[in-house]
Amino acid sequence: MTDGPVVHALSGRAVDELTLEAVRRGEVSLADLRIHPETLERQAEVAAGHANPQLAENLRRAAELTRLPDDEVLAIYEALRPGRSTLEQLTAMAGELAGRGLPRCAALLTEAAEVYARRGLSA
């Protein structure tokens, strides 16, 4: 790990506290193992600073996704497979994500809805 700001898990705990001792005391939970959106934002800034805006955007979408449970992330992934969703379904999903404060993911779904329709990849 590099020197820099203290890294936190999604739970808010400092990563340095996540030790074997903590596991032994039964003090480590699943939320302590998930990445914090701040960490992803910081990595996005690094990527952008190294001429990789696409990776930065990807990491910022990932930061948004930390707000969703795994099941929902997988459902979006499935919906984005070719031929699984209609333009309307993807658009509706985008609207819902935008309403829940995931604008970048919503934008990706909106773009996908349009591109899939144009390329014949809609259900």
């Binding site: 790990m1 590099t2 890294v7 936190h8 898990a9 990563v15 340095d16 996540l18 030790t19 074997l20 596991v23 032994r24 480590v28 939970s29 699943l30 193992l33 998930r34 990445i35 914090h36 960490t39 992803l40 910081r42 990595q43 690094v46 990527a47 190294h50 990789n52 990776l55 990491l59």
Partner: protein, 309 residues
């Protein structure tokens, strides 16, 4: 150079075959050395690999047992130490696999449970290592382009270890220590060793030092004990082009070489068949027929003409 160095047999992972895999590792290590490049791999002593694999198999068994997923027998663990793939594990209990998968999914087992299981089973170092990995995941430095972990789980990536190549002589140079690793391949042999191994087999057996080699694909040749494989005395054309008279001359010339006489130069019947690619499939088919009869490892056999006359 290629997308990873797989060691999983194709039958165990049909999605993931790499164009190089663990079966080629000795070739790859020799190429690293001979070309003087760092291809990222190193020779590891067999004893070290065996010990590591045994530790890994036993640690896995301990975790499965601790979590109540499955009980593996000593025999199964021993097989796993030396297994190339699942077929080497003997009869496996397929239902046990299903029930373990079910227990992992339904029980909501996480890496924390695995760490605790390792720790409580006496694998503290392994438990610590997995916690290190977990913290590294949360730090996210590995998400950058071309990231790999070094041995201390530090991240090398485009960010932390940028490509500063600016023309010949400015790129990566392996350290002296790394060069020693690259050079230390396990079948280190000199050119002389190779020559000795490859010297004409028949010629080494013959008292005269002169031998005749015949191959289904054609190459018929007269060889001498002290010569390198391609530096033979006489090389005849592909088998279908060689006539009975020419084979007789081959024998006669071999005898002349053996007796120190003067061989009568053979005139090779070079033809399209001997040269053009469109005949190669036939030649390869002939070779395949011959290979089907080969029994590797047998000692030399005395031949006689009895029964042929």
């Amino acid at each position: 150079m290629f997308s990873g160095f797989g060691s999983i047999q194709r039958y165990d992972n049909m999605f993931g075959p790499s164009n190089f895999n663990a079966e080629d590792i000795d070739d790859f290590l020799a190429m690293q050395r001979d070309w003087g490049i760092d291809g990222g791999l190193r020779t590891v002593p067999v004893e070290r690999i065996e010990a590591l694999r045994r530790d890994a198999a036993q640690a896995c068994r301990a975790v499965y047992r601790h979590l109540g997923l499955a009980d593996f027998t000593d025999d199964h663990v021993e097989r796993a130490v030396d297994a190339a793939g699942s077929k080497d594990l003997g009869d496996t209990d397929t239902l046990a696999v299903v029930s373990a998968a079910h227990a992992i999914r339904e029980g909501g087992l996480t890496v924390v449970d695995v760490v605790a299981a390792l720790d409580e089973s006496g694998y503290e170092a392994e438990a610590e290592r997995i916690m290190d990995m977990t913290r590294a995941r949360l730090a996210g430095d590995y998400l950058q382009t071309s990231a790999i972990f070094d041995e201390e789980l530090g991240v090398l990536s485009l960010v932390t270890d940028p490509n500063d190549y600016a023309g010949p002589g400015t790129g990566y140079e392996p350290s002296a220590q790394r060069l020693r690793e690259i050079d230390a391949i396990r079948q280190e042999r000199g050119v002389e060793d190779l020559r000795e191994q490859q010297a004409g087999f028949a010629a080494r057996l013959a008292g005269s030092g002169i031998g005749i080699g015949l191959q289904g694909k054609g190459t018929a040749l007269i060889h001498r004990r002290d010569l390198a494989p391609l530096a033979n005395l006489e090389l005849y054309s592909v088998a279908p082009s060689v006539t009975a008279a020419l084979y007789r001359l081959l024998g006669a010339n071999a005898a002349r070489h053996a007796k120190g006489g003067t061989p009568d130069p053979a005139r090779n019947p070079y033809s399209d068949e001997a040269i053009e690619a469109r005949y190669h499939t036939t030649v390869i088919a002939l070779m395949a027929l011959e290979r089907a009869w080969v029994k590797p490892g047998l000692p030399a056999e005395e031949l006689s003409l009895e029964g042929l006359r």
